[in-house]
Amino acid sequence: MASSATPSKSVASYNTDLPNIPSAAVRFPAVRSYEQVDREIGGTLRPTLGWFAALGTAVLCMLIGATAWTYQIHEGLGAAGYQPPVMWGVYIVTFVFWVGIGHAGTLISAILYLFRAGFRTSIYRVSEAMTVFAVMTAGLFPILHLGRPWKFFYLIPYPNWRLIWPNPKSPLVWDVFAILTYLTISSTFLYVGLIPDIAILRDREKNPIRKAIFAQLALGWRNSDREWRHFTRAYLFLAAFATPLVLSVHSVVSFDFAMALAPGWHATIFPPYFVAGAIFSGIGMVFTIAIPLRKAFKLEHYITLNDLDAAAKLCLFTSSVVGLAYLTEFQVAWMSGNPFEQNYFWNRVFGQWAWAAWIMLLCNCVLPLSLWSQKLRRNPLWLFILSLFINLGMWFERFVIVVPSLSHEFEPWQWGTYRPTFVDYSILLGSFGWFFMWFLLFIKQLPVMAMSEVKEIIPPRMRLAHAGLEHDLTEGTVYPDDTGAPH
């Protein structure tokens, strides 16, 4: 190899040497070639004992949920702990929770793509898959909530012989449109992004059966300039469509509440409040999933501390927005002069549901304040623990929204309580089992990281102009990120 260029010694000189890839050496300093990307990320597809154990646990949880649902279908909805006036309970709470989880995926894959946020590359595939499986999970809950789940198709607008039409002015019909669109576009976005990576797997695979499956899924993708030219445009436009879709879906979910006249629900703050909460909870779940994956698959040099740091800042920001929304709700109630609203919010924090509200405030507003510390933002163990609290806190946020409003409406004779039963808890557990079952199956069949996008950041092998780079990288220069130090 010609080596007339002087070998560079610093990140800065690499950056000036390599137009078009301004931060390659900073983003993935330990990733040096396209072949390494294929080998390491492709290598995550081999099943391990730990994976089988995790999959078995997820399937067991799912079966517990399925059994509880069968029991509920036999016994009726009373088995789920519903009693007047609280006729929306754990199922609606969990529905909103899972739709919220599904939001970070599209935020990370679409919105951060449009904003060219670098840390997106290593975590967006995980987030997109999470989105699809979370929305699939959420979609089960309105059906579970129906006493007769086999009639779920009544919500779909098509001319039928009974001449019964859904009411297009109802938020529940908006929900059907919004969530089905979101599921379709998210799945399409995930699949389109996967095509070049499936082509890599097709070309590397030795097993003829898997190779044939990958060949079908890759649709004959060849990495030609024609394919990339249209692919990059289509991906951009899909991202542009998906961005307002993210904002619209949880706004529509919030209308399920905001369009009703119950105290605590009928507020114009709900759409932004729900969207911020959804993104916050989704990022929490990304940490819950990505941090163990990073460790188990030895991908620390792809999902770097810088990436976690950047995602943690986003988490802190959305936590602050959510905290502000909580305070604004109280302020609006205080200044409204409406005794029902004031009484409801007083009851939320000091009355019947104080325990749930304080869990919510602690997990969503107080603990995330730790992310002001850069040391904690760069501590994967703390981020993982915090993410579990965020998941818990965001489930309780939805509980605090749904249940107290229904249990404490206008007149004292309407007031009541709600106590979930083992059926609710089992189905809640089953939903986690269902979600993680799909996710675990995904990570062993398809790459958890976008190989072709990671390659976009890696400096390509050059023959003449950057011969010094090749030399220096193989020598193993130490970069700031190798030491884990912030920069």
């Binding site: 078009n20 396209y34 072949e35 294929d38 607008p157 001449l163 039409w165 009411n167 297009p168 002015k169 019909v173 908006w174 449109f177 919004a178 089905l180 669109t181 379709t184 576009i185 399409t188 389109v192 095509i195 070049p196 082509a199 890599i200 070309d203 590397r204 649709l219 004959g220 993708w221 060849r222 990495n223 030609s224 300039d225 024609r226 394919e227 990339w228 030219r229 249209h230 692919f231 990059t232 445009r233 289509a234 436009f237 899909l238 469509f241 998906a242 307002p244 879709l245 619209s248 529509v252 072709s452 996008e453 390659k455 976009e456 390509p460 092998r461 050059m462 023959r463 003449l464 102009a465």
Partner: protein
């Protein structure tokens, strides 16, 4: 279809080979790259993708259809509520928007498939599995009498392997 296929391990070598092949007008060139590279985009100098036209047209059709569904439903089976319009444009905007995204998004992908000639039934001619890994490929479709020219240009610029394919 017959031609010459060159496999390069270095990006700049592939770019220089394409520059010379274009200059000599040896034949139609297709380049394979593991990841999109601006260098290759510039040297190939293709016009912008027409995907955006499909996105716009089907997005507009989608929003029209998305408004039409609830208006038609409301008109066909009116739910009369005192003082409220039967076809209410404001809430129907939600359905209009969602259907716009659905149809516009899906048709963007179908347009991409159509324009990129995907799905493709075979990848055997003018392709090598290395092109999804770490190599750049240059496939030149040319007449039998220009094949030697193409091969010598590819070799001159450092192709790791050059072969005829059909």
């Amino acid at each position: 279809m017959q031609g010459v296929l060159g496999a390069f391990h270095e990006l700049d070598a592939a770019v220089h080979a394409i520059e010379e092949l274009k200059k000599e007008r040896v034949g139609d060139i297709t380049v394979f790259t593991p990841t999109p590279r601006h260098e290759l985009e510039h040297v190939m100098a293709h016009p912008p993708s027409k995907v955006r036209v499909y996105t716009l047209v089907f997005g507009l059709l989608g929003v029209t259809f998305g408004y039409w569904i609830p208006v038609w439903i409301s008109d066909y089976w009116p739910i009369v509520v005192g003082g409220k319009a039967i076809a209410s444009w404001v809430p129907f905007t939600i359905l209009g928007f969602e259907v716009m995204v659905l149809i516009g998004g899906l048709m963007t992908v179908y347009a991409m498939f159509g324009l990129a000639h995907v799905p493709r039934l075979t990848t055997t001619v003018g392709y090598d599995p290395r092109f999804s890994g770490g190599h750049f490929g240059v496939w030149v479709v040319t007449d039998a009498d220009r094949m030697d020219d193409a091969m010598s240009i590819l070799r001159k610029h450092g192709a790791e392997e050059v072969r005829r394919d059909r």
